[in-house]
């Protein structure tokens, strides 16, 4: 047993390669004034400024497309927290991206109700349709809370369904052309389920 090698870090303690990062100063990070003002406004809404961390990260993501390391440092400087703190928050949540993603985001639900109605095939169809579209980020997603329009997808934060596989190519083309996406499939335009005439046979007819 005595011959087992012991990791140096265990016997001597791990020596950090660089000093731990403190709270960056505002003048060091080059924070755009509009981002600073937005985060300050958000902090003012809460009894404790730290509550603004998720809204601040949303603001960073809106500005840069994802939570860039620079953006996180800028938000941290405004909020007077460490960048590591904000990064720990950002990495916890599915909607905050700590890696680059496309300009347009498509989240296809693959959870129980959508799976039963063809969600996996829909995801495949979107992946195939977006294969050459670098600006479109397609991902499978957990239940988006719209099982009534299964199978469905959230496209740039708006809900559409029920979708057929052919809708995927149309949606991607519309996104790239800057056209309105699948207007007839938008959740907002649907009546209450009970108000859909029975003769129409509901959404699956």
């Amino acid at each position: 047993m005595s011959e087992l090698p012991v990791d140096r870090a265990v016997s001597e303690g791990r020596v950090p390669e660089r000093a731990s990062e403190g709270i960056p100063e505002l003048h060091e990070v080059g924070c755009p004034p509009e981002l600073r003002e937005r985060i300050e406004e958000l902090m003012g809404r809460y009894p404790d400024r730290k509550s603004a961390s998720i809204p601040a990260l949303w603001a960073v993501q809106r500005l840069y497309g994802w939570c860039t390391p620079e953006g996180i440092r800028q938000a941290a400087a405004v909020m007077r927290v460490t960048p590591a703190y904000l990064e720990s928050v950002a990495s916890f949540y599915d909607l905050l991206h700590t890696e680059p993603v496309g300009v347009h985001k498509v989240a296809v639900c693959t959870n129980i109700s959508c799976w039963m109605r063809g969600g996996d095939r829909l995801l495949d169809a979107f992946r195939a349709a977006a294969e050459d579209a670098e600006d479109v980020f397609v991902s499978g997603f957990e239940c988006l809370g719209a099982c009534d329009i299964a199978p469905m997808a959230s496209i740039d934060e708006r809900y559409f369904g029920p979708l057929e596989e052919a809708d995927a190519a149309s949606a991607i083309a519309q996104l790239r052309d800057g056209a309105e996406v699948l207007p007839e499939r938008a959740l907002e335009r649907r009546p209450l389920a009970g108000d859909v005439p029975r003769a129409a046979g509901g959404s699956d007819a």
Partner: protein, 437 residues
């Protein structure tokens, strides 16, 4: 069977979303009366006598919960849980989208009853469109003097903030929601202390679901007796039920609690798809133990009847599986969700969800033995009750029920998949088994 639209009354009118539209139907009249004429104690009494049970999942008496908050001058908070993330649930989305002011009025009255000066609506980040609707409605309510300082000249204050989450099922758990609202990673806290005693920023906090709070204005307006006129003795009121899965007319239907489940599924939601038969259903979202069609269809849809049948009403979300659905695959899909969403804080949940997924993958690939099904079942038993929150239980209950009630189908799946894989001599990549991300 017709719906009984109370919360969804006038919901077909798009104008209801605006403050003028809402006031046109008598909206905010109850808030005015409550703030001008009523004492918090009277409000609490009315809510408790109404028997309104929480619509988010646990079904605890809303009035009792509110009465647990300590009295006296101190900073108290109210949080509206709009993090609706339970697979199968989409009723809060409808209520916020179509009638945001009903919720705001309910929050303002509940805050008055609980003595809260700050209120938050924690809405899941995916509901961007609904959050926009709420933002507009809250601004309108401030403008009209129903929120803010010195409401209607009564020297009472209430600040209301719409807080968007960023994608985490766990934040629907009330203490994880508090952590997320405090700007942290959404990890559940040890209870006690319960949020009513020590919640947001360490202050007493009342946390209620969107549908629960949306019920408040009418209960205060018409009284507890009126509310008890709907539903059953132990489940008073109406319920917006989300029905989805293998039915012809999936959607939200508002009914009195206690209606026959069969009528909900087969009449309102249109019944099974052409040529199909109902096989099983989750009666209260993906975390409720699955009931077979024979067990469940003739039960009244109420908290007590579902509990007696060994399941739960939960958030009131029915997911229907027909005879084309493979139960082992449904179990795997369910387990994958909870595995993905486990925050990782407690070992039984973090490891239990992980191993359940791995074992169920072996089942559907035909690599498992029937003994593995006993192990799956025992893992579920070892998760239940052993964690800080109920996320692990939420997987263990439905998966455990599926293995128990459909054991034969699991064994057949193992045998058939094993045979198929021996013939094809290929293994399906994990991706095709339904990895969500």
């Amino acid at each position: 069977m017709p719906e009984t639209r109370v919360l969804l009354e006038h919901a077909e009118d798009p104008a209801l979303r605006t403050i003028e539209g809402y006031r046109g139907y008598g909206g905010y009249g109850t808030l005015e009366r409550a703030y001008r004429e009523m004492e918090p104690e009277d409000l609490l009494k009315e809510l408790e006598e109404s028997g309104l049970r929480g619509r988010g999942g646990a079904g605890f008496s809303m009035g009792k919960k509110a009465s647990f908050l300590p009295r006296g001058e101190m900073q108290k908070y109210l949080c509206c849980n709009a993090d609706e993330s339970e697979p199968g649930a989409f009723k809060d989305r409808e209520l916020m989208q179509r009638n945001p002011h009903q919720l705001i009025e309910g929050i303002a009255i509940a805050a008055l009853a609980a003595g809260a000066g700050h209120a938050f609506i924690f809405i899941r980040g995916e509901y961007d469109s609904q959050a926009d609707v709420l933002d507009t409605a809250v601004a309108e309510a401030y403008e009209a003097g129903y929120l803010g300082e010195n409401i209607l000249g009564t020297r009472r204050d209430l600040e209301l903030v719409v807080h968007r989450g960023a994608g985490a099922y766990i934040c629907g758990e009330e203490t994880a929601l508090l952590d997320a609202l405090e700007g942290k990673r959404g990890n559940p806290r040890l209870k006690p202390p319960f949020p009513a005693v020590q919640g947001l920023y360490g202050g007493p906090t009342l946390i209620n679901n969107v549908e629960t709070l949306s019920n408040v204005p009418r209960i205060v307006a018409h009284g507890a007796e009126w509310f008890r006129g709907f539903g059953t003795e132990q489940s008073p009121g109406t319920k917006v039920v989300s029905v989805s899965g293998c039915v012809r007319r999936p959607g939200n239907y508002e009914v009195e609690l206690g209606v026959p489940t069969r009528e909900l599924i087969c009449d309102l939601a249109g019944g099974p798809l052409p040529g199909r038969e109902l096989k099983a259903f989750y009666p209260g979202g993906s975390s409720s133990p699955v009931l077979t069609a024979e067990e469940g269809l003739d039960l009244p849809y109420s908290f007590e009847a579902m509990a007696e049948a060994g399941s739960m009403l939960g958030s009131g979300s029915i997911i229907v599986a027909d005879d084309s659905v493979s139960i082992p695959h449904m179990a795997l899909r369910t387990a994958r969700f909870y595995h993905h969403e486990s925050c990782g804080k407690c070992t039984p949940c973090r490891e239990g969800t992980n191993w359940t997924v791995k074992m169920l993958e072996r089942v559907v690939r035909g690599e498992a033995t029937p003994m593995d099904l006993d192990i799956v079942a025992s893992v579920q038993e070892n998760i239940i009750g052993h964690c800080l929150c109920v996320l692990g239980d939420s997987m263990a209950m439905p998966v455990g029920a599926m293995v128990r009630k459909f054991r034969e189908e699991f064994e057949e799946t193992i045998a058939a998949a094993g045979e198929a894989s021996r013939i094809a001599a290929v293994q399906a990549p994990a991706e095709t088994l339904g990895a969500a991300t």
